[in-house]
Amino acid sequence: MGKARVKVPKKAKKGEIITIKTLIKHKMQRATKDKKTGKPIKRNIIHTFEAKFNGKPFLTAEWDTGISANPYTAFTHRVSESGEYEFVWKDDAGQTYTAKARIEVA
């Protein structure tokens, strides 16, 4: 769990709107009961996702159990300068997963 893949173009023109694709391995476990033992299984989903560029968040998401396992999200960003993207996922177990990518503006 927590293995993330992100797809960001390496280069862009100033002012260009690029598409970013992200995918993270996560069960997105709903609160349920173990079928054999009847023991309760705690909810553990990624509840927050954030996309930042040069430290500034430009997209944030709040997820509930209705988001599929191994959450995939694609979105856009208007590029004004070269810099670094940071993507952050947070789950119920208190884990934080991050991924980074660079973009150069010609």
Binding site: I17, I18, R30, T32, K35, F53, K56, P57, F58, L59, T60, A61, E62, W63, D64, T65, G66, I67, S68, A69, P71, Y72, T73, A74, F75, T76, H77, R78, S80
Partner: protein, 156 residues
């Protein structure tokens, strides 16, 4: 291969876990339906603060038929200039017949460039999915689409 198997199991667990959904699948009682609809409407009212969302400007793209309810693609785009003064602040996905009707909220900024998002969601059963957009002027827009969920070959 193993990934597909996990998803199938996941789907089955999902249906079992949601007693309401199973009940609705086996015996569609108007009482249960009304209760679920009320919950989604209640959530909508909470999100809009009582304001009535208008249709148009929001495009909600989903398959008409989803074979696997565990992972249904959804694309939302909102017609907005995305400037500092006029932009789409957020979109919220609501699935009125899911055990949890609130699915997700995506919050945009003018830096987003477009109010566009593509993701994958769970659908417990055939239903109408809603996408609610909040604009920076405080108004709300809504789009709705029907998705038929077919149950996999191994029952459900």
């Amino acid at each position: 291969m193993s990934k597909t198997r996990i998803e199938v199991l996941d789907r089955r667990e999902f249906l079992v876990a949601s007693g309401a959904a199973v009940a609705t699948l086996t015996a569609l009682t108007s009482g249960a339906l009304a209760r679920e609809m009320k919950d989604a409407n209640k959530l909508l009212q909470e999100l809009t603060g009582g304001a009535k969302p208008t249709e148009g400007k929001v495009k909600l793209e989903m398959p008409e038929i989803a074979e696997n309810g565990a992972t249904v693609p959804v694309k939302i785009s909102v017609d907005s200039p995305m400037t500092d003064k006029d932009y789409c602040e957020s979109v919220t996905i609501i699935a009125p017949k899911n055990p949890t009707v609130y699915v997700a909220t995506f919050k945009f900024t003018p830096d987003s460039g477009k109010a566009w998002v593509s993701t994958r969601m769970r659908l417990a059963q055939t239903q109408e999915v809603w996408a609610l957009a909040k604009m920076s002027d405080g108004s709300f827009r809504i789009a709705k689409t029907n998705v038929k969920v077919t149950i996999g070959g191994c029952g459900g």
